[in-house]
Every structure is written in C-alpha cells, then in structure tokens.
C-alpha cells in the first residue's frame, strides 16, 4: 500500500464515523484550547504586572536606609537594621552624580486630616515636586512646587479625599488640618486608581520638610532616583552606592534597588506560574489521549471482521497498523487545529472582557500544545493499532 493511499483510506474511515470523529476531535481541541487560553492568561498576567511596574515610573532606583546581608528584595530591607539615617543631604548629594536625572526624598506615614468638621485618617507622603515626575503622578487641578525647602505649607489631595472633605465645592485653595498643622490645598491628584499598592486617589502629598516636622523626624523613608536611561540603571546604582558609602564614613548601610531587579524577579515568578498553569492544562490533553485510546480500542473490536477481511485480501500487519495510526493522526491534527482556533478565540474573549489584561497566547505555548496533541494521539493509538494488526484473521472473520 502506498503512503498516499494509506492517508486517503484512513481519512475516509475517519469521516465515515462522524460522531466518533467529532467527539475525539472535541476532546483533543478542548485540551489544546485549554493550554492556549491558560498560557495566554498566565502570560497576560505577567505583562500586566510588567506594565504596572513601568507605570511606577521608568528607570527607577529606590534607596532604602539599612542593609540586610541577604540578597535582593523588599523583605530583607524591611527587617534590616538602620544604623544611620538617610538625610536630605544624602539625597541632595546625588544630584551631582553621573546618570542621575532627578531625585525625590520620600517620607510616608499616617495622619489625621480634617476640614470643616470632617475628619479621617489618610496616608501622608512628604516629598518634592520631583516625585510627581518620577512616579508619573498627574494633577487634575493646581500645582505642587515643593523643592528642597523650606517650602510653604501646601498639600495635594487625592481625588477621593478632596471629594469627601469638600463634597459640595472646590477644594482648591481651602484650608485643611493635618495632625496639628494647617495646610492650604494647592492641588488635586487626577484619578489614577491603584498602582503597585499606592492609591493616589486616597493619598495626601505635602512638602517633605513639613512631613518631617509632622512625623518628628530628620531622616528619610526612601530616596527615589530616576536614572537617565534604562541602561544607566546598573552603573548609576554603583555610583550611588560608592557616594553614599563615602558620606557614611565608609559604611555600606543602604539598600539600593533597581527597578529592573524587581521586574526580573516578578518576570521569573510569573513565567514559572504560566508554565505551571500550562502544565495543568496539558493534563487535560493527556486525559483526551486516554479517551482516544479507549475509543480506538472500541473501534478495533467493532471492526474485527473488517480487519480479518483486509488480512484475507492481503493486507500486512504494517498496513493495518498504519491505517489505525493514521486514523488517530488525522483526528489529532484536526483536534489541534480546531483547538488552536478555539484557544485564540478564547484569548480574544479574555482580552475583550478584561481590556487591561494583555492575554496574548505565546507562540511557544501554541506549538507545544500542537506537539503534545500529536504525540498524545499517536501514543494513544499504538496499543489499539498493534492489537488490530495482531488479530487472528480466522477468528476475526468467523464473527458474523
């Protein structure tokens, strides 16, 4: 039997058992679609987080007082000892360093805000106007002009805070009280929602010198630095480390985190997550494979007399085995194609339902899904096909 004839003959068999073909195809297609959609979801989540980080501000370097010996991340920094405070002088010294475009000192704390008899607790940030540029914060109204000080007592309110304290009128220019200090509302944040744990809608920003007075401290919580370019982040980090070490009597007591280090960590975690999710989806493909094996075994016993006849008219073991293998191959190929189509439609649906989630299926996942479908299909048909090939023709034909 020529290869072409084997392909045609097996294809015709597949087509003639329509219900069986559709069911197997569906099982295969759902498995493939699951892999495609779930990887799209995982990869979409990764890109979503990456976008969030970029929204933090680009080329960001964060300087945290204290140093923990364990490498990386926030956690070490949070539990680290603080032998020496970060000061405004430390921050100001960075301006002259190569690679530093701008910096902003940052203090963060909780405070009570009150105006016109209304009172609530807010997250208070103290910084300079540079923070707005570094963190990509936008003002809807007014302005914030704080520099290294001393600064006038002005505050920028989050949109939600402004609305709560001044439900009836314009907050701009009004007087508010933060703790025991009075401020004038100089600006209002644009609605931006939450980004990496900071919600500007519920934030109050004041000049850092007033924040230090309010919190009764001389030190800084963080120094935010914007490097001149992404490629300059690494070198700038080094320069800052050396400069601060010099200022701190040769002691390296700050933690410097580049944005790309955080990005890389999250990237790694989310890639692993995507792989895990697609692995789970691949299990459904394996289940489909077992279904295929089951259906093909039934097909072999249903078509026993046909197999006996093919042997009687001169089909070899190989001919019969190939015919059954090709049958499943057709189904697996069709299932993979339909599955890819379903998967891409599903991902499109996800993107339409959640526009902020860039759920595009990665190419590698689609290829892996197709390959898995084909391998599973063929593996599942080896047993039924060789069973068919080994059938005793006399017994096969004696079944009426």
């Amino acid at each position: 039997m020529t290869r072409q004839d084997a392909f045609i003959l097996s294809f015709r068999t597949v087509v003639s058992y329509r219900l069986r073909a559709i069911l197997i195809l569906l099982a295969m297609a759902l498995g493939v679609a699951a892999v495609v959609v779930l990887t799209a979801l995982g990869d979409g989540a990764r890109r979503f987080v990456m976008n969030q980080f970029t929204a933090l501000g680009t080329n960001l370097i964060i300087i945290i007082p204290g140093r923990s010996e364990t490498a990386g991340g926030f956690i070490g920094a949070l539990v680290g000892e603080t032998p020496r405070d970060l000061t405004l002088e430390d921050a100001a010294s960075l301006t002259a360093l190569p690679g530093v475009r701008r910096f902003a000192p940052l203090n963060v704390g909780l405070s009570e805000i009150s105006a016109g008899g209304l009172l609530r607790e807010v997250t208070l940030a103290g910084s300079t106007a540079s923070l707005l540029a570094i963190r990509r914060m936008r003002l809807a109204q007014g302005s914030f002009t704080a520099d290294n000080g001393p600064n006038p007592a002005e505050a920028v309110l989050g949109a939600k805070i402004a609305h709560e304290l001044f439900p009836t009128g314009n907050a701009l220019g009004q007087r508010i009280r933060l703790g025991d200090r009075r401020f004038r509302v100089a600006g209002i944040f644009a609605m931006q929602g939450e980004s990496m744990g900071i919600n500007t809608d519920e934030l109050v920003l004041i000049p850092f010198d007033h924040a230090q007075a309010l919190f009764n401290t001389q030190s800084l919580f963080r120094i935010m630095v914007e490097a001149e370019s992404r490629s300059a982040i690494e070198s700038t980090k080094k320069v800052i480390r050396v400069a601060l070490k010099l200022r701190h009597d040769g002691e390296e007591d700050v933690t410097i985190i580049g944005q790309d280090a955080i990005l890389a960590t999250f990237d790694k975690i989310l890639r692993a997550l995507t792989l895990a999710v697609s692995g789970i989806a691949a299990i459904s493909l394996a289940v489909a494979g077992i279904l295929v094996m089951n259906v093909m075994l039934v097909a072999v016993s249903q078509r026993t007399t046909e197999i006996g006849l093919l042997k009687a008219i001169g089909a070899t073991h190989t001919d019969i085995r190939n015919l059954f293998l090709l049958e499943t191959l057709w189904l697996a190929v069709a299932g993979a194609v339909v599955g890819i189509i379903l998967g891409y439609l599903g991902s499109l649906g996800l993107r339409l339902a959640y526009p902020q989630l860039p759920a595009y299926p990665p190419i590698w996942a689609s290829l892996a899904a197709i390959a898995t479908a084909l391998v599973t299909g063929i593996a599942a048909s080896i047993l039924p096909a060789s069973k068919a090939a080994r059938l005793n023709p006399v017994l096969a034909l004696s079944r009426r």
Binding site: L9, E306, G314, T316
Partner: protein, 222 residues
Amino acid sequence: MIALTAISRIFTMGDQEVRALNNINLTIAPGAYVSVMGPSGSGKSTLLNLIGLLDQPTSGTYLLENIDVTLLSETDQARVRRERIGFIFQSFHLIPRLTAAENIELPLILDGIPSAERKKRVRAILQQTNLLERADHRPSELSGGQRQRVAIARATILNPAVLLADEPTGNLDHKTGAEVIALLENLHRQGTTIITVTHDREIGARAHRKIQMRDGEVVSDD
C-alpha cells in the same frame, strides 16, 4: 498446484485438544474445480483457511506453486494471499462504508498499484460482472446476489491462481446462488483453480472433484 503433506491442525480448547485436521494428504492440480463437503466440524473450513494462508498447520508441509508457504514471513504470506489467492465468504464481508467499486479496488490499493491503473481495472471487472450501474452504491444498497458478485470481483481482480469459496451461496436464494455458481464456473473455464466448501449437495456435485470430510479426515475423494 497445491500439495498438502501430512497436514494436521490441532486446537487447544481449555485442557482438551481438538484435531480439526488429522494427517491430510492432498494434491490439487492447477485449474481444478474442487468441492469440499462434510458435516459441521468436519474440518472443511479449517482446510480452506489453511490453503488460504489465514491459518498455520500444527504439523506437515504445504507447497503452493512449489514454494513451502508455511515457512514464509508474515509479510510474504500477505503478498501471496494478495496476489495468488482469492477469498469469497458466505457473509460477503464487504466494507459497509465503501462503495462497490471501492470495495473491489481494495486489493489493488494494498498491492500499491497507481490510481489511474486501478480505476481502469475496476471498471473492466465491473463490466464483466455486470455491476457497472451499481458501482457507486454501498453494500447496504445492493441485493445479496450483487453483493456476492462484488465480493467475487474483489477476490479475482488480481487474477489469483486459486479462488477459495466458503459457502458462497449460503446466504443466497436458489436462483441468485445459481448465478453466483455460474460466475465461479466461468472463472474456472478461464483457468482459475476453484475450491468450494459447501453444504449444498447440488452445488457440490457440480464440481469435477468432490472431497468428503469427516472428523478432520478425508473420507472420499473422486
């Protein structure tokens, strides 16, 4: 030429041995017309399956055209079945999803003959067997006699030396049975060896050589 020497075929059923064929010695000349008769369980179907290489003897030698075919590999035996032997069954054994023409074409496909050549040969044999207008019908749309004619066309399309018929008229009424027998006898006149296993005395009597079997042995041969 078929030469069976001391052929035995023993089946084991549980702990019991069944001698389906017991020391058969038989020579069938090329172009012979042979009928094999006997009661159920006499071994006549086993004999036919052995001659058709669907079954292997437990002992003895089987020469087909001077080749000991029992020693051939599985693939070579399949080739012999394909090219030298034709089978006809009581229940036709047509593949239900294929048309008459496609059923007839199957042995040609298995033999690797190119498509254009196949179509030509199938058309020719459809014409000979008077099935041309039924070519595109599936077996379920054919009468019993037509089905058996399709089966005969399929068995003979590669011009086999031997045609083995196992109760070829068993599922047919008397008239269509006679038509099928006439078709077989026509093939015999063209030189094909015909071996028919049958219960029907009348059909058995038409053969030139009549073999009677009982309990796995040949009891009369004339």
